[in-house]
Amino acid sequence: MSSSIRVYATRKPVRAYRPAAPRTATLFMLVCRSPKAVVGLLILATIAAAATMAPHLAPYPVTEMHPSDRFAPPGGKYALGTDFFGRDLLSRVLFGYRTSLLVAVMSVGFALVCGSALGMSAGYIGGALDTTLMRAMDILFAFPVLLLAITIVVVLGAGTLTTVLAIGIVYVPIFARIARAPTLVVREHAYVEAARALGQRTLRVIARHVLPNISTPIFVQATINLATAILFESALSFLGLGTQPPYPSLGLMVSEGRNYIELSPWPTVFPGLAIVLAVLSFNLVGDALQEILDPRLRQTWVSS
């Protein structure tokens, strides 16, 4: 009895209440127990490390041509062989991973920040703002994703940064919806009302009390979208609308290799396998997280 009075007396801030999300330590244990998550994380860690260390690991400079070694098969001097210009495929795949991961992380980061902010504001403040924002999101949703991204790229001009923006914008409505729904629930909880009653500003209530309680689904969605963002980036590059040559991008490598596929399949095979490996590991982790955090949550998987 007395302790509760003391809380009021010292105006100790109301602690954010986390109903469903397991604590970090528990979550870590659960992840360790899921073979899918462990395998996925191990592959991801390897890929991320290789991409970061690419300048040190790559046996040859990415754009260096070896005219006498065109279409070298895998093994020997070049671990994965060479392409039409005699460029080392391993080096190009390593640098291609850099582009893929960079674009994926930046675009999903952009969508996560903008989308969650929009979704939480819409859900928390409600009224006309909610209606306007969510109708705008509906309109964005009305476009097929790849087509919308292509249109944005055409307007802004092809390039790596444009790819980030295009994918980011396409993903914003997804995060807005994911953030809005639980915000509507959390808004009505007693601890949010208490925080409001204590005179906390809207922004502070959202950041301190709403955000921590809705972060789980956003987190899971981000993992899944990292997987699709890699596919997305490679598709745009494949169509010639993403990263521009001579910079290596996995999609662009498949596109270039395809023209000589009857002469040598390796320049097409390896970059594609590299994409599959990265996307699969993100999907493994995302799938495991979904099972751990909310077995009832059913994600509609749509690849681009």
């Binding site: 009305a142 790849l146 494949f238 970059p271 509609t300 998987w301 690849s303």
Partner: protein, 326 residues
């Protein structure tokens, strides 16, 4: 199910009318957005038509007048929209042909590709999902789960290239890049479209299989399934008549979502297999800076996407009358 639908007939009709009316503002906003986006593209369309070496201001002004580019933007939009409503999508600045004809020639290829690949996705996805959802072997389930996850991780353009390499170049089972009209030679056509349709179907088959499995797992312990077993029905009958029937309702929605996305995914597959569909038309328009064509493609595909989604919503309500027309 039909009994429910009949009871709710007037409500259903009202819902249908409401949804159809709602289409008008949605399509209007989409047209506005597409028009504005195309106007944001840097560069002068008149200059693009004349060629960049021609800088005669008089000729440039003449072309601009012809295209109506000298009028205010809202007038341009109104004229474009007016023509649109009469089915006139404008003229290609590269070939001079009416865009409506170009789209009408390309659209059947894209639609066939989409329908074919949905059929394949359903034919592969539902059996795989049913096996995974009803097997008592944890390993078989885990194996199929991993396989479907792999299916979701494959880039379509790469799978397409690998298919061409394996089946057309090495094994010579399928012809390379020849497409005949469906009605001229149905069998040759279905053969030619098999690899592109399969490429497009793989991730969707995986998504459908996962959905079917999840649905089956969730109804496995329902009372009515236990009752059906207790009645002594064969396992196959329990699965087919009692579990799948209920489990397939969310799958219908998924198939709808997938159908919409196929229209976008077709862009990549058409490019890989050189199919002269709408996606390829749009990509060529980008390369040739034929922006009226690109504008028409974006508009037509998006309108189709919206219509498919509406259709799916309606089917969903019809299948499960418990869902109120929210």
């Amino acid at each position: 199910m039909l009994r429910f639908a009949r009871n709710d007939n007037s409500e259903m009709q009202r819902y249908l009318a409401q949804r159809l009316l709602l289409l008008i503002p949605v399509l209007f906003v989409i047209s506005l957005l597409v028009f504005s986006l195309m106007h944001l593209i840097p560069g002068d369309p008149a200059q693009a038509i004349l060629g960049f070496e021609n800088t005669d201001p008089a000729q440039l002004a003449a072309v601009r007048r012809d295209l109506g580019l000298d009028r205010p933007v809202y007038v341009q939009y109104a004229r474009w929209l007016g023509r649109l409503l009469t089915g006139n999508l404008g003229t290609s600045v590269r070939t001079g042909r009416p865009i409506t004809t170009l789209v009408a020639e390309a659209l059947p290829f894209t639609i066939e590709l989409a329908v074919y690949s949905i059929a394949l996705a359903v034919l592969i996805g539902i059996p795989v999902g049913t096996l995974a959802g009803t097997t008592s072997s944890r390993w078989a389930d885990a194996g199929m789960q991993t396989l479907t996850l792999l299916g979701l991780s494959l880039p379509a353009f790469w799978v397409g290239a690998m298919f061409i390499l394996l089946f057309s170049v090495y094994l010579r089972w399928f012809p390379v890049l020849t497409y005949t009209a469906l009605l001229d030679a149905p069998l040759a056509n279905l053969r030619g479209f098999f690899l592109p349709a399969l490429t497009l179907a793989i991730p969707n088959a995986a998504a459908i299989a996962r959905m079917v499995r999840a649905s089956l797992v969730s109804v496995r312990r329902e009372e009515y399934v236990k009752v059906a077993r207790a009645k002594g029905l064969s396992e196959w009958r329990v699965v087919r008549a009692h579990m799948l029937k209920n489990a397939l309702i969310p799958v219908v929605t998924l198939i709808g979502i997938v159908a919409g996305y196929l229209l976008g995914g077709a862009i990549v597959v058409e490019q890989v297999f050189a199919i002269p569909g709408v996606g390829r038309l749009g990509l060529q328009a980008i390369v040739q800076r034929d922006y009226p064509v690109l504008q028409a493609v974006v508009l037509v595909v998006t309108a189709l996407f919206v219509l498919v989604n509406l259709l799916v919503d309606l089917i969903y309500v019809f299948l499960d009358p418990r869902i109120r027309y929210a």
